[in-house]
């Protein structure tokens, strides 16, 4: 932390490496992601002290310790909430949320969807390894149905989330996917996420080589990745395959993989359009086993003035920037300057006072600053509702209910068949209750 901010010399990756030893497992995909982010940050033209990395809990959430910027390793799932307070009051900062599939989609699911709908100008990097790593290998909300883990010995029965589809459903304005080992692609996506104004949501497929090794082998192995990956490019047809001879076509509102040639040309294929969230959702539903996994930017909706009734103005729930003209405070660079404090305090304290009408200035009277950082708009593209596509989760089928019931019975009765443990607990509870009710009857007086 002693490296001074270098405004006179060009920053480099090493300026963004902290003095802490990185403690992920050897071979973890997180190393690659950390390295790409550290490479991109110095290129962005932002002073190092203006970056803040906020994380929750999990392997990915150790990330801030290793980046030599301001950082906050918080609590499970709450990084979006903490980032909201920071960015709302300090809009000049570049705020990054680093999270994982458990942190963002399970315990922090509520915070995630709400930061996306508010479209706060922060960047979210979600490391998806489809497993709980830090707690040593339980299934996660992105684990496939049937996943056998320590907590699901006969396979998980829960249907997984698709992070991309979830983000699109929450109307995120920038949604992208990359892969830990695709270094160049990942750098490009991180860069674009930074430049997007509004919440940028980036899912990074990341290999946990200890608890879920090879979860994304199809898109990372040299032999299969060209056929298993669909690289999205704005304005380009959806073409993939080692020989770039396969494409995605829409027929009867259903996507299908077609081979180019034999009467099918590029003009028959779907053309990617980042400004079309409906198309983005359709593409988000592509994936194995019948489709390649799309990577790249699914949607990037630029802030634009609301037009007509179909345009939608996005206002954060945060009250907009203060009206500077009324006195009190002004921002001067980083500093807050106090002005006429007593007068203005006096003014508000006297609301409804005894010798005059209220002098309180109501919200409606305060002029909005036109560049209030939280006032943003998105375009009004709405696709056809028929464009539903298919999911990447149809790999396994939900097990029949009897299996689940059997499991429950086993858990409920297996280790305490004659209920002796349960009876013991009940007796202990009764004793405690008698003790406490005596205390309550005595009105808290205790010994007399």
């Amino acid at each position: 932390m002693s490296v001074p901010s270098a405004s006179d010399q060009k920053p480099s990756k090493k300026d963004f490496v902290s003095d802490q030893d990185v403690r992920w497992c050897p071979g973890c995909g997180d190393y690659a992601i950390l390295s790409q982010v550290q490479k991109v940050l110095p290129e962005l033209g932002i002073a190092r002290e203006r970056f803040a990395f906020i994380s929750g809990i999990g392997c990915s959430s150790r990330f801030p310790y290793y980046v030599n910027t301001y950082g906050f390793h918080s609590i499970h799932g709450r990084a979006p909430a903490i980032a909201t307070g920071l960015k709302a009051t300090r809009p000049e900062l570049s705020v990054w949320i680093v999270t994982g599939d458990g942190d963002a989609l399970s315990i922090g699911g509520n915070h995630l969807i709400h930061i996306l709908r508010r479209n706060l100008d922060v960047n979210i990097l979600l490391f998806n390894n489809k497993i709980y790593g830090l707690t040593k290998g339980q299934y996660s909300p992105t684990s496939e149905v049937g996943k056998v883990t320590k907590s699901t010995p006969i396979g998980s029965v829960d249907h997984p989330f698709d992070p991309i589809a979830l983000a699109l459903g929450a109307e995120a304005s920038f949604v992208a996917r990359s892969i830990d080992v695709e270094t160049k692609h990942l750098q490009d996506i991180v860069r674009r996420a930074h430049h997007h104004k509004g919440t940028s949501f980036v899912e990074i497929l990341q290999n946990c080589n200890v608890f879920n090794d090879g979860a994304f082998a199809d898109v990372t192995e040299k032999t299969t990745k060209a056929d298993a990956t669909l690289v999205l490019e704005h304005g380009k047809p959806l073409i993939f395959g080692k020989n770039r001879d396969k494409g995605i076509r829409l027929r009867n509102f259903q996507p299908e993989v077609v081979a180019l040639g034999e009467g099918i040309s590029e003009s028959d294929l779907l053309v990617h359009d980042e400004r079309n969230p409906a198309l983005a959702y359709l593409i988000a539903r592509l994936g194995p086993p019948h489709f390649p996994t799309p990577i790249g930017v699914f949607t990037a909706v630029d802030p634009a003035p609301a037009r007509g009734s179909s345009g939608r103005l996005r206002l954060a729930a945060v009250a907009a920037a203060p009206a500077f003209a009324l006195g009190g405070f002004r921002w001067h660079g980083e500093d807050i300057v106090r002005e006429e404090v007593d007068d203005v305090v006096d003014d508000v304290l006297h609301g409804h006072d005894t010798d005059g009408a209220s002098r309180r200035v109501h919200q409606g009277d305060v002029p909005e600053t036109p560049d209030a950082h939280l006032v943003e708009c998105v375009g009004n593209w709405v696709g056809e509702p028929e464009h539903l596509g298919v999911g990447r989760h149809q790999v396994a089928h939900r097990p029949v209910e009897i299996t689940l019931l059997e499991l429950q019975q086993q858990v409920a009765f297996g280790d305490d068949a004659d209920q002796s443990v349960a009876r013991h607990h009940q007796q202990a509870a009764d004793t405690m209750l008698t003790h406490h009710s005596n205390g309550i009857r005595d009105g808290g007086r205790g010994r007399q």
């Binding site: 906050f72 709450r78 920071l86 009250a319 404090v341 006072d353």
Partner: protein, 629 residues
């Protein structure tokens, strides 16, 4: 035009003190009526205290006992500490309101009813077999029956309003009547109506007409033969305003943030009765106030903590079960040692409990409701106006000690109102905030030698980039550390830091004799009832004193010696005995609890009689001890 100075020939009698309650259906506008009567009384120069009491349902079924909403006001020509025990006046708009409230009316008290509200349907809903207006059951009261609905309707007949709109003006007719009865000026209510309904001038006209009609009806009809005058109270000179606890809390935060020269960030999720603080602050953004209505309680405090990281005065507000959800982030806030104010407007629990009713049962949770060794300073306001002072103090302590602070108020303080001497902003203490910018010798957990607080460094400061988090910190550097001795050192230093806040606590004020038979020790909203009770006991010759705690963690340094100067210590609380438990544990004093858990504040009489029994009992026990050593 009626303006408080009545010029009629009816008899005028003086009164020192009046307790009045307006009761009706939850759609009858009783809270508005009571609030306006309060404003009129404040402007008449009386001291006062209020108690709004309403159901949690916005519109409970009309006419039912569950739907009764009431507003009680005690106004006087001398000091007022509580909304009053028994009623001098009850205004009942329907049978249900009568049934629920008449038990609190003094014998001989004034009972004003809307006769037309006592129809068969309403009587049935209120579970009356016979009409109480005619069966003699109300003979012990001065019963005044007015055809309020008919008279209101007649006053508004040429306005072309719907029958429903006309019916809804009845409350202002009643306000007019009671304003005449107690010589209240109705001008302020007229101004309020003009502002409130400025977009619908016909409603301004209708309500003002109803108000004046009620006033004139009372003056001119045969119904009331006497009116009452309550001289202005002799209170300290200065400019006053009426203030509720929630408004005072919000203004205390704003004043403190201005004094600290920092913006305010409030992260909050709507919950009764805390929401009014969010409403209040959301209208004050010209003071660099940011309000954030979060997706849940956790996000509310989380965002506040993020704002604290960024250098704002960070606040979250909540009530009831919302407090449970703050615990995790409070732990983080004290681990990362950032200033944060958690405001808990206590309400009756557990769980959803009784959302609109008051209670003081969150004290032990505030003390201990976090995993690990997680001490947090706790402050508690004693009166609605005191919420301003304690909110201000909470901010001051939070930034000076770089710690989360819990501020406890309750539903009674939050919605109750009293006159507040508006402080001169220049007289408020400064809250010095130094954001560290010097990289030389910087460590994230370098501690101030006196307060043991760490430096506040906000993102954007060049050369001081660092990371904080919930993992245990290495002493000084703040790097992650699992070293056994370091953990104990950090646990101890955090505890010492909070314990050191005793140096901020002013001497505890003892009202009454310096030694004596009984000390009544209270905290929070019991202040008014205890004060009045102790005064009455003192006037009756008992050696009873009172001390009231506004600092609950750490406790005041002089409290132990004060407790030992009295033979007995009584701790009245609206819980099963929480402060009494802390007092007994901390000082090994055999303090006695007095507990009421009914969602309503203590009555003065309840505390007086409990003290009297205790005073008797103490004497008895001592004599027995002497006889049988």
């Amino acid at each position: 035009m009626p303006d408080g100075a009545t010029s009629n020939s009816k008899r005028v009698e003086p009164r020192d003190r009046v307790v009045i309650r307006f009761a009706g259906d939850s759609g009858d506008g009783m809270q508005v009526t009571g609030t306006q009567f309060t404003t009129e009384s404040a402007l008449a120069g009386n001291d006062l205290a209020t108690l709004p009491d309403f159901p949690a349902e916005i519109r409970a079924p009309a006419g039912t006992l569950a739907g009764v909403s009431a507003f009680q006001l005690n106004f006087a020509s001398d000091e007022v500490f509580t909304p009053g025990d028994d009623l001098d006046v009850l205004v009942a708009m329907n049978p249900a309101a009568l049934k629920v409230n008449v038990g609190d009316l003094k014998p001989g008290g004034i009972l004003i009813v809307d006769r037309e509200g006592f129809n068969e349907q309403n009587l049935k809903k209120a579970e009356y077999d016979r009409n109480p207006l005619g069966d003699g059951s109300l003979d012990r009261y001065q019963l005044f029956q007015a055809d309020v609905a008919k008279l209101t309707s007649a006053a508004l007949k040429d306005l072309g309003l719907s029958a429903r709109a006309v019916f809804r003006c009845r409350n202002f007719f009643c306000l007019g009547m009671t304003s005449w009865l107690y010589h209240r000026p109705i001008g302020p209510s007229e101004s309020w109506l003009s502002d409130k309904f400025k977009k619908t001038p016909e409603l301004v006209e209708a309500n003002i007409r109803a108000l004046r009609a009620g006033y004139n009806f009372a003056e001119n009809s045969e119904l009331f033969a006497v009116s009452y005058e309550i001289r202005p109270a002799t209170i300290a000179p200065g400019k006053y305003r009426n203030i509720t606890g929630n408004t005072a809390t919000a203004l205390g935060f704003v004043a403190a943030a201005q004094k600290a020269g920092r913006p305010i960030f409030l992260g909050s999720y709507p919950i009764t009765p805390a929401s009014d603080i969010l409403h209040e602050l959301s209208g004050l953004k010209q003071f660099n106030v940011y309000t954030f209505q979060a997706e849940d309680e956790i996000a509310g405090i989380g965002a506040a903590l993020g704002a604290a990281f960024g250098g704002a005065i960070a606040i979250t507000t909540t009530s009831g079960p919302g407090m449970n959800l703050k615990a995790e982030t409070m732990g983080l806030a004290l681990a990362v040692e950032l200033p944060l104010i958690i405001t808990d407007i206590q309400r009756a629990g557990p769980s959803t409990g009784m959302p609109t009713k008051t209670e003081q049962a969150d004290l032990l949770m505030a003390m201990y409701g976090r995993h690990g060794e997680a001490p947090v300073p706790i402050l508690a306001a004693a009166t609605p106006a005191d919420c301003f002072a304690m909110a201000f103090e909470a901010v001051r302590i939070a930034v000076r000690y770089m710690t989360p602070v819990i501020l406890l108020t309750d539903g009674y303080l939050a919605n109750g109102a009293e006159p507040w001497l508006i402080p001169d902003p220049a007289s408020l203490p400064d809250i010095p905030v130094q954001l560290r910018t010097d990289p030389n010798g910087f460590f994230p957990y370098l501690r101030d030698q006196v307060t043991l607080s760490r430096p506040w460094v906000v993102p954007g400061t060049p050369g001081l980039e660092h990371r904080i988090g919930g993992l245990e910190k290495e002493y000084l550097t703040g790097n992650v550390s699992y070293a056994p001795m370091n953990h104990e050192q950090m646990i101890r230093v955090r505890a010492r830091k909070i314990a050191g806040i005793v140096r901020e606590i002013p001497p505890t004020q003892v009202l009454g004799p310096e030694t004596g038979d009984l000390l009544v020790l209270g905290w929070g909203s019991t202040f008014g009832a205890i004060t009045q009770a102790v005064r009455e006991l003192g006037a009756a010759g008992h050696r009873v004193a009172q001390a009231h705690l506004r600092y609950l963690n750490p406790l005041p340094p002089d409290l132990g010696s004060i407790l030992r100067r009295y033979r007995t210590v009584l701790v009245p609380e609206m819980n099963l005995g929480q402060l009494v438990r802390l007092i007994r544990a901390e000082y090994l004093v055999d303090a006695v609890g007095f507990n009421k858990i009914q969602g309503r504040p203590f009555k003065v009489s309840e505390i007086v009689s409990r003290c009297l029994r205790l005073l008797d009992g103490t004497t008895l026990e001592e004599s027995v001890t002497e006889e049988h050593p």
